[in-house]
C-alpha cells in the first residue's frame, strides 16, 4: 500500500469503510427512482423526441429545412458537432491521461466523466451524418470495397480523417469505460436479489471473479487502453480542427487551430463534467467522494485551459494583423465588429473572462459559482465554434457572395434534441451503472481516506 503524505488532502471524506463505499455507489441502482429523476427524464425524453422529429423532417425534405445557404454551407450542424466532440474530451483525459500520471483524485470522477464522453460523442456523431445531403449513402465515407468500380475515399479530406478519428475515439473510449466497469458490475451482480437484475449484471460483469489473476489482467488492460486513449485525446480534436485549418477560408486557415482546439475541448469537457457532477454529488449524496477538492482541481484546469484559449484568440488577432493578408485581417475585424459581433463578444466573455475568476480560491471552491461558470463556459464554447464557422464563411473572399445565417426551428430542434438525447442516456446511466469506480476507489481508501489518513498520522505520532 502506498504511503501518502499527510499534507495531501484526503480524497475520500468521512469515516468510510469498504462496505460504506459499496453501499453509497450501489444505492441509486438498488433504490427506486425518485420523482426528480422522472421529471428530468421526461423532459429529456421530450427534447429527444423533438429532435428525432427534426431529424426525420430533415431527411424527408432536405437540408433546405435548415437555415443554410449558398455561402454558409455549415452552421449549427458543425457547430454542434464540434461542441459535442469538445465536451467529450474530459472523460478520456481524466481516465487515461490522469491514470498514466497517477493522479488518484481522478478515481471518483472518471466513471461519470467517461460516460459523459461517450454520450456526447454519440451526439457529435449524429451531426456529420445527418448534415449530409444524401444521408442514405453515408456509407460512401467508409473505405469499403464496393461494387461501384474502383471508387475509393479521398484520403486528402479532413472530413474523412474525422470519420476515422471519431470512430476510433468512440470505440476506444467505450472499451476503456467498459473494462473499468467490469468489477463494479460484478459487485452489483453479487448484491442483486432480483433474478432478472442479477442475470443482466451477470452478463455485464463478464464472469468477473475477483481473483488475483483477474485483477492483474484488469490493471494491465487498463494501462494498455490508457496508453491507447491518451494520444486520442489530442488527435480527435486536432483532426476536427483540421476541417478548418486545412481550408482556404480566411478565419479557418490557421495553423494554431490544433492546440487551440484541444485546449478548448478540454476546457469545455471539464466544464461539462462540473455541471454534471455537481448535480450527481448532490442528488446521489456523494459529497464524500466528489469533494470540494475535486471541484477545485477541475476549476484549475478550466482556468488554465481557458487562459490558453484566450491566448489563442489573441494570437489569431495578432497573426491576422501581422500577416498583412487583407482577407485575414478583414475576417477577424469582421468577427469582432461585424454583424456577428455579439457572438464574438459572448465567446470572449464566457471563455476568456469568466474563468479568470477561478484565480480566487474562495470562488473556485464555491459550488454555486462553479456550477454557473461551468454552464457559462459551455455557452462560450458553443459560441466559439459558431464564430469560427459562421463568421468566417459568411464574409469570405468575394463580397458579392456575402450572406448571413439564421437558424430555423428545425436547426434548433435538432440541437435541443441532442441535448435531450444526451440526458436520456446520462439519466439512464445514473440509475443503472455504478457512477463511481468503486473498485478503484477502494484501492486508495487506506491511503487517502480521511479517517484512515488521520489514523496514520496518529500512528506516526505514536511511533515517534
Amino acid at each position: 500500500m502506498h504511503y501518502e503524505s499527510p499534507v495531501r488532502e484526503p480524497l475520500v471524506l468521512g469515516n468510510k469503510t469498504y462496505h460504506d463505499i459499496t453501499l453509497d455507489v450501489v444505492r441509486p441502482v438498488e433504490s427506486t427512482a425518485p420523482k426528480a429523476w422522472w421529471i428530468a427524464f421526461s423532459i429529456a425524453l421530450a427534447l429527444f423526441l423533438w429532435g428525432v422529429g427534426a431529424i426525420l423532417w430533415t431527411i424527408a425534405n432536405g437540408i433546405g429545412s435548415w437555415g443554410l445557404n449558398k455561402t454558409v454551407g455549415w452552421a449549427w450542424d458543425i457547430t454542434n458537432f464540434v461542441w459535442w466532440v469538445g465536451i467529450g474530451h474530459a472523460g478520456t483525459l481524466i481516465s487515461a491521461v490522469l491514470l498514466l500520471f497517477r493522479q488518484k483524485w481522478r478515481m471518483s470522477i472518471n466513471r461519470s466523466a467517461e460516460a459523459m464522453t461517450i454520450f456526447s460523442v454519440i451526439q457529435a456523431g449524429l451531426f456529420p451524418v445527418i448534415h449530409m445531403g444524401r444521408v442514405w449513402v453515408a456509407y460512401f465515407v467508409l473505405p469499403i470495397p464496393n461494387q461501384f468500380g474502383s471508387l475509393w475515399v479521398n484520403f486528402n479530406s479532413p472530413l474523412l480523417w474525422d470519420v476515422f478519428a471519431l470512430s476510433t475515439y468512440l470505440s476506444v473510449s467505450t472499451v476503456f469505460w467498459y473494462v473499468g466497469l467490469i468489477p463494479d458490475f460484478a459487485m452489483i451482480r453479487d448484491r442483486a436479489i432480483n433474478p432478472i437484475q442479477k442475470h443482466v449484471y451477470r452478463i455485464l460483469a463478464f464472469g468477473w471473479g475477483g481473483k488475483a489473476k483477474h485483477w492483474q489482467r484488469f490493471e494491465e488492460v487498463s494501462l494498455v487502453l490508457a496508453g491507447l486513449a491518451t494520444p486520442l485525446v489530442l488527435s480527435v480534436h486536432t483532426i476536427v480542427s483540421m476541417d478548418f485549418a486545412t481550408s482556404v477560408i480566411p478565419g479557418w486557415h490557421t495553423t494554431i487551430f490544433p492546440p487551440y482546439f484541444v485546449a478548448g475541448a478540454i476546457f469545455s469537457g471539464f466544464a461539462m463534467v462540473q455541471t454534471l457532477l455537481i448535480i450527481v454529488r448532490k442528488l446521489f449524496k456523494m459529497e464524500d467522494y466528489i469533494t470540494i477538492q475535486h471541484i477545485e482541481m477541475m476549476n484549475i484546469i478550466i482556468m488554465v485551459t481557458g487562459s490558453i484559449v484566450g491566448v489563442a484568440y489573441i494570437t489569431e488577432l495578432f497573426i491576422a494583423y501581422y500577416s498583412g493578408v487583407e482577407y485575414e485581417q478583414y475576417a477577424f475585424l469582421n468577427r469582432a465588429t461585424g454583424p456577428y459581433w455579439w457572438a464574438y463578444w459572448s465567446m470572449m466573455t464566457c471563455n476568456v473572462f469568466s474563468p479568470q475568476f477561478m484565480w480566487s480560491k474562495k470562488l473556485r471552491t464555491n459550488l454555486v459559482f462553479t456550477f454557473i461558470i461551468s454552464i457559462v463556459v459551455n455557452i462560450g464554447m458553443w459560441f466559439e465554434r459558431f464564430v469560427i464557422i459562421v463568421t468566417s464563411l459568411h464574409r469570405d473572399y468575394l463580397p458579392s457572395s456575402w450572406a448571413m445565417f439564421s437558424p430555423t426551428s428545425i436547426d434548433i430542434a435538432f440541437y435541443m434534441g441532442t441535448i435531450g438525447f444526451f440526458f436520456v442516456l446520462f439519466l439512464l446511466y445514473a440509475r443503472t451503472f455504478p457512477v463511481i469506480a468503486q473498485a478503484e476507489l477502494k484501492t486508495i481508501l487506506k491511503s487517502s481516506g480521511e479517517s484512515q489518513k488521520k489514523h496514520h498520522t496518529e500512528d506516526d505520532h505514536a511511533h515517534h
Partner: protein
C-alpha cells in the same frame, strides 16, 4: 470475316459422331433422376430440405425479388417505328428562324432534340439582331408554358375554330351593315406576308381599321423620324464606328430596344487608341449607364434641357434651354467638345418616348454630321411601329360604341393601356388571338390560341434590306391557328399561312430551301435615299423642339419607367426571366421603385436586413393624375437621381399564369400614352416588402476583384506591370508568382486539351443572356422568390455587380480614418457609383480547394483542366462549397423536381415544362452539389465528332452556352493547347489576370482588366 470462325466443344462435335448427335437432341446431357428422388418416400422423409423449408425458400426468394423490384420506376422510351428523316436520337438539329415575341426581333438558331426545341442560339449568318438577349434565350420555355391556351374558348366554355370563325364572320358582316368599324389591334407588324393579309382585309372591308400599338411605346420617336424621313421607323445606329457616344436617358444596351446594339457597342469598347468614350445622363442607374465612362444623374424632366444645351454647345445655336444642374452642364461641355472632335463618328441618343427630345437628338446628330454615318436615317428599323394616337382613337371609338368587331392579336391593352379594360366590353364583338387567356382575352367574347413563334411560319422585314423568315421547329402543341389564317377565313380563303409565306419567298425570286437554311437573306445594305433630307429638317426644327422640350412636366417626384429582363411583359410567365437577377439591383422576382439614399431618408424609406440577410423594404404609395398605385416596394439604389423613382414595366400581371400572377406591381397603370416618366405624389405606406436579392455585399471592399484602369494608364504601359500587378510570394527560392508557389504537384496541362475561358470585363455589359443560357443548357432548377431570398439561388453562372465606394484604403489613410470606420465606410456604395460587372462561374481551378476536401472524391480533376463533379458519388457534405473561394458551388437543398414548394415556379414540375430539359445533362437529385461544368456535354460531343472524323478538334469547333449567348464576345472559350484558338491568344494579353490569384488556385478562367476611357 471475323464472324466466320466456329468453335467446337470437342472432337466429337467436329466429327459429328452419333454420340454427339444424340447429345445434341437432349436438352440435358444426363437424365435427371427425378423419379429416383421423388419416388422414394424414405429418401424424401430423410431429406434435409423439407417441404416447409422449400416454402420458406420460395417465400424468401419471392420477397427478395419483390424488394429488389422496389427500384425507381422504369419509364418506357419508345423507339421510332419509322425513323423520321434527319432525326437521329441523341443528335441535335438546328433550324434558323426568327424570334419575335411582340416586342423584339432576333435572328436565331433553334436547337431541337428528337423533335423538341430545347435551346435558342444566336443566328450564325450575321444578320440584323443576331445576338440573343436573355429574353430571346428564355423564349423557348414560353413554348412549353402550361398556362398557354389549348383551344378556342367562349368565356369559360370550350369552343372550336369553326364557331370562332363563324362568329367572327357574322360579327364583321354585321359591323359592316351597322356602319361600325372592324378593328384589328396588334403590336408592331413588320412581316410582309402578314401585311399582305391585312391589306387584303382592308380591300375587302371598307370599315376595316388596323391599329398597331406597342406597350413599351416609342411612338413619339417614330413620329419624329416619320416627319424627318417619311418612313415610320427608327434609324439604324452604327455604334461600331462611333467614337463618342452620348446618351441622354436612353438605355440603349438594355431590354426593349428594337435594334440590338450590344455587339456593335463592344466593338468600340476594345481598349486601345481608338476606344470609344461613352457619356450617360440619366435618372435611373441603367445597365447602359453602368457601362458608361462618365455618368451624370439628371432628372427625366431635364433630359430635354440637357439635349438643348448640348445642341447649343455643338452647333453654336442658342435654342431655349430649360433648368439644368451645373454638374450636368459641366460634363455636357466636355461631352460637346468630344463630340465636335469626332464629327461623323459620334452618336447622341435620347431616351424615353419623348418626341421633342428625339428631335433635338436628331438635330445634334445632324449638326455633328452623324446622320448618314452613325445614324443611318436612310436605313429603317421596322421592329417598332406602334402608334399611340391610333390606340387613343380606338379607345374613343370604343367609348362611342363605334366598334362592331374587335380582333386583338398579340397585344394586351387591358393590362398595358390604363382604362382599356372597361372599353373592350363596349365592342359589339371581340376576339382575342392570343397565347393565353390573359387580361385582355378574358374580357373578349372569344379567345383563341395562336401558335408560339417556334410553331409558326412567317417572314419579316426587321430592317431595310434584310428579309427574314420564321419556320416551325415543332408541330403545334395545342389546337392553335395562325392569326393570318383566321383573317383569311373571312375572305373564304383557306390557304395555309405556310403557303402564303412560301409564296412570298418565291415571289421575291428567292430559293425557299436556301432561305430556310439561313433563316433569312440580306437583300441589300438597306441604305436608301429616304434619309437625305433628314439632317436639314432636323436642324430646322431644333428650336421649336427645344421650346417644346422646355415645357416638360416637372415635379417633386418623377417616376421614370424602364424595362428589365421581362421587358414589356409578354413573357412575364417565364420563370427563368424572373429568377435572373436584375443586372443592377440584383433583385429577382420583383419590380419596385428605385430611390436614392437621400430621398429614402427624406421619405422615411428603409431597406433593412433580417437576421438571415434577407432584405425588406418599405412600401410607397404613388399617385399620378389621380391614379394610385398601392404597395410599391422601394429599393434604395445608388446612382438614382434625386427626385426620381425608377419603376420597371412588365410586372403586376394578373392573368398570365401561376409563375407570375401578382408578381410586382403594374407600372403601366401610371403610364399615360407611353410616356417616359410621370410626375407623381409619393407617400410612405405601412408594412414591409420582402425582397429577394442575391447580393448583399455591394462594393469590392478595397480588394482586387475587378482589376480596373484608365485608358491613359493602359496606353502608357503596354506590359501591364503598373496596372495589372500579379500576386507574388517571397519564398526561399526568391520571388515567385502565386501560381507557382505550390504545395501540390502540378497536373499535366500539356498532353491533352486544356480548356480555358477568358472573360473580358471591358466587353461584358452585364445583360445576363449568359446566365439564362447556362440555366437552360444545364437544366438548372428554378427555386423561386422565397429560396432566392434565403440566398439559395442555383445559378451556375452569376454576374457580380460592384459599386465603387467613396472610401478606399488610400483615401482612408490620407484622411486618417480608423480601420473599423474604414471598412464600415467601404461597405457603403457611392451616391454616384462607378459600376463593374463580373461574370463568375466555376473557375475550374487546377489546384482546386474543393477537390482536396471532398471525403468521397466526388469532385475531381480532369486531365483537361476541368474540375469534375460526380453527382452519383456526392453525399452532400457541402465542404467543397465552403472551401470554394469563389462561392460558385450550388447545393440542391430540396428536391426541386418534386417538392410542392416549387410547383408554381419550377417548370420541370409539369410534363409540358419538362420537355425543355436538355437530355444531355443529368437533372440533379436532392442533396448533391452542382456547379458549372464548362458545358462538358458540349466538350464531349465535339470530341466525339472530331474522333468520328479522325481529325484533331478544330479551334472554335464549339463553345460553352454562356460564351455562345454573349453578343459582345466578352467570353471566349477554347483549348489553350491549340495555338490557333482565340483563348490561347488572349491568355497572353497583358490585361489578363486570375481572380484571387494569391490564393494559389490556378484557375482555368481568367479575366481581362477593365479599362475606362475617362476624360
Amino acid at each position: 470475316m471475323a464472324s466466320e470462325k466456329k468453335y467446337w466443344k470437342g472432337f466429337d462435335e467436329l466429327g459429328n459422331t452419333p454420340v454427339a448427335q444424340k447429345l445434341a437432341q437432349n436438352e440435358f446431357a444426363e437424365e435427371l433422376p427425378v423419379e429416383a428422388i421423388l419416388g422414394d418416400g424414405a429418401v424424401l422423409e430423410s431429406a434435409n430440405t423439407s417441404r416447409r423449408d422449400f416454402l420458406k425458400f420460395v417465400g424468401f426468394s419471392t420477397a427478395a425479388a419483390t424488394l429488389a423490384a422496389c427500384e425507381n420506376p422504369i419509364v418506357e422510351s419508345i423507339p421510332y417505328v419509322v425513323k423520321p428523316e434527319a432525326i437521329t436520337p441523341g443528335i441535335p438539329n438546328y433550324y434558323a428562324t426568327s424570334y419575335v415575341d411582340g416586342q423584339d426581333f432576333a435572328s436565331v438558331l433553334i436547337k431541337t432534340r428528337e423533335g423538341r426545341p430545347i435551346k435558342v442560339e444566336p443566328g450564325d449568318k450575321g444578320f440584323f439582331n443576331s445576338g440573343t438577349t436573355a429574353r430571346a434565350q428564355a423564349s423557348v420555355l414560353s413554348l412549353y408554358d402550361s398556362a398557354r391556351l389549348s383551344g378556342p374558348v367562349k368565356g369559360e366554355e370550350a369552343s372550336d375554330w369553326k364557331k370562332v370563325e363563324a362568329a367572327l364572320k357574322s360579327a364583321v358582316e354585321k359591323s359592316k351593315a351597322e356602319g361600325k368599324t372592324f378593328t384589328l389591334l396588334t403590336s408592331s407588324v413588320f412581316s410582309p406576308s402578314t401585311k399582305g393579309v391585312i391589306e387584303r382585309m382592308r380591300g375587302a372591308y371598307a370599315n376595316f381599321n388596323h391599329v398597331q400599338w406597342d406597350a413599351a411605346s416609342v411612338s413619339q420617336k417614330l413620329d419624329v423620324w416619320e416627319a424627318l424621313t417619311g418612313n415610320r421607323a427608327l434609324p439604324f445606329y452604327d455604334l461600331a464606328s462611333a467614337k463618342v457616344i452620348v446618351s441622354i436617358g436612353e438605355d440603349f444596351l438594355g431590354a426593349g430596344m428594337a435594334q440590338q446594339m450590344a455587339s456593335d457597342y463592344a466593338v468600340g469598347r476594345k481598349p486601345g487608341a481608338g476606344m470609344s468614350r461613352h457619356y450617360q445622363f440619366e435618372s435611373n442607374l441603367s445597365m447602359t449607364g453602368s457601362n458608361a465612362d462618365q455618368r451624370v444623374k439628371v432628372k427625366a424632366s431635364e433630359y430635354g434641357a440637357a439635349l438643348a444645351y448640348l445642341y447649343n454647345q455643338v452647333s453654336g445655336a442658342s435654342v431655349r434651354v430649360g433648368a439644368l444642374s451645373a454638374d450636368a452642364k459641366k460634363v455636357l461641355d466636355r461631352a460637346a467638345k468630344d463630340l465636335v472632335a469626332h464629327k461623323g463618328a459620334s452618336v447622341v441618343f435620347s431616351g424615353g418616348n419623348i418626341g421633342a427630345n428625339e428631335h433635338l437628338a436628331a438635330a445634334i446628330n445632324a449638326a455633328l454630321s452623324n446622320i448618314g454615318t452613325t445614324v443611318q436615317a436612310g436605313k429603317s428599323v421596322y421592329v417598332a411601329q406602334g402608334n399611340d394616337r391610333s390606340l387613343s382613337n380606338l379607345a374613343a371609338d370604343l367609348k362611342a360604341g363605334r366598334v362592331g368587331a374587335l380582333v386583338v392579336w398579340g397585344a394586351n391593352p387591358a393590362y398595358a393601356a390604363p382604362g382599356f379594360a372597361e372599353l373592350i366590353k363596349k365592342a359589339t364583338f371581340s376576339l382575342a388571338l392570343t397565347d393565353r387567356l390573359d387580361e385582355t382575352a378574358a374580357l373578349c367574347t372569344y379567345a383563341a390560341p395562336v401558335p408560339h413563334y417556334l410553331e409558326s411560319w412567317n417572314d419579316y422585314t426587321p430592317v431595310a434590306g434584310h428579309y427574314a423568315v420564321a419556320q416551325p421547329t415543332i408541330a403545334p402543341l395545342f389546337d392553335s391557328k395562325p392569326a393570318q389564317e383566321v383573317l383569311m377565313s373571312l375572305l373564304g380563303d383557306s390557304t395555309s399561312y405556310k403557303d402564303v409565306v412560301r409564296n412570298s419567298i418565291s415571289a421575291r425570286g428567292l430559293s425557299v430551301n436556301a432561305i430556310l437554311h439561313d433563316g433569312g437573306v440580306q437583300l441589300s445594305d438597306g441604305a436608301s435615299g429616304a434619309g437625305s433630307g433628314a439632317a436639314a429638317k432636323a436642324l430646322a426644327g431644333a428650336s421649336v423642339a427645344a421650346e417644346e422640350a422646355a415645357k416638360a412636366a416637372t415635379g417633386e417626384w418623377e417616376v421614370v419607367f424602364y424595362q428589365k429582363a421581362v421587358g414589356a411583359g409578354f413573357q412575364s410567365n417565364n420563370p427563368w426571366l424572373h429568377e435572373l437577377p436584375d443586372p443592377i439591383s440584383r433583385v429577382t422576382w420583383d419590380n419596385y421603385v428605385t430611390i436614392s439614399a437621400a430621398d429614402a431618408l427624406k421619405l422615411g424609406v428603409e431597406n433593412t436586413s433580417e437576421s438571415n440577410g434577407a432584405i425588406n423594404g418599405s412600401y410607397l404609395t404613388l399617385t399620378v393624375n389621380g391614379t394610385t398605385l398601392e404597395r410599391v416596394p422601394a429599393w434604395i439604389q445608388p446612382g438614382q437621381a434625386a427626385g426620381t423613382l425608377g419603376l420597371a414595366l412588365g410586372y403586376g400581371r394578373t392573368k398570365v399564369g401561376k409563375v407570375a400572377d401578382n408578381v410586382g406591381v403594374n407600372a403601366y397603370s401610371l403610364m399615360k400614352g407611353g410616356s417616359a416618366y410621370a410626375v407623381a405624389k409619393v407617400s410612405l405606406a405601412e408594412e414591409e416588402h420582402q425582397f429577394a436579392s442575391v447580393q448583399l455585399g455591394n462594393t469590392m471592399m478595397g480588394r482586387k476583384i475587378v482589376n480596373e484602369t484608365t485608358l491613359a494608364t493602359f496606353l502608357a504601359d503596354s506590359t501591364g506591370k503598373s496596372w495589372n500587378e500579379k500576386a507574388e510570394f517571397h519564398t526561399l527560392q526568391g520571388t515567385v508568382n502565386a501560381n507557382d508557389a505550390n504545395l501540390w504537384p502540378d497536373h499535366d496541362h500539356k498532353t491533352m486539351h486544356m480548356w480555358n475561358m477568358s472573360i473580358d470585363l471591358n466587353s461584358c455589359i452585364g445583360c445576363g443572356a449568359c446566365v439564362v443560357a447556362c440555366h437552360i443548357e444545364n437544366n438548372v432548377p428554378v427555386v423561386g422568390k422565397d429560396e432566392v431570398r434565403r440566398f439559395r439561388d442555383m445559378h451556375w453562372l452569376r454576374i457580380d455587380r460592384y459599386y465603387s465606394s467613396d472610401t478606399s484604403h488610400e483615401s482612408a489613410e490620407a484622411d486618417g480614418v480608423g480601420v473599423m470606420a474604414k471598412y464600415a465606410a467601404m461597405e457603403v456604395p457611392s451616391a454616384s457609383p462607378e459600376v463593374v460587372f463580373q461574370p463568375v462561374m466555376c473557375q475550374h481551378c487546377n489546384h482546386a480547394p474543393c477537390e482536396t476536401v471532398c471525403p468521397v472524391a466526388a469532385t475531381t480533376h480532369s486531365q483537361e483542366g476541368l474540375n469534375h463533379m460526380t453527382y452519383n458519388r456526392c453525399i452532400g457534405t457541402r465542404y467543397c462549397a465552403n472551401n470554394c473561394p469563389y462561392k460558385v458551388r450550388r447545393f440542391n437543398w430540396f428536391n426541386y423536381m418534386k417538392n410542392d414548394k416549387f410547383s408554381s415556379v419550377n417548370p420541370s414540375q409539369d410534363d409540358l415544362g419538362r420537355m425543355v430539359l436538355n437530355p444531355d445533362v443529368t437533372v440533379r437529385s436532392r442533396g448533391v452539389m452542382e456547379k458549372c461544368s464548362f458545358c462538358i456535354q458540349r466538350i464531349q460531343y465535339a470530341k466525339l465528332e472530331a474522333k468520328k472524323k479522325g481529325e484533331p478538334m478544330e479551334a472554335g469547333a464549339f463553345t460553352t452556352a454562356c460564351a455562345q449567348a454573349c453578343s459582345t464576345g466578352a467570353m471566349s472559350f477554347g483549348d489553350v493547347n491549340n495555338a490557333k484558338s482565340a483563348v490561347a491568344a488572349v491568355k497572353q494579353d497583358p490585361r489578363a489576370y486570375h481572380l484571387l490569384e494569391e490564393v494559389g488556385t490556378q484557375p482555368s478562367v481568367f479575366y481581362q482588366t477593365k479599362v475606362r476611357n475617362q476624360a
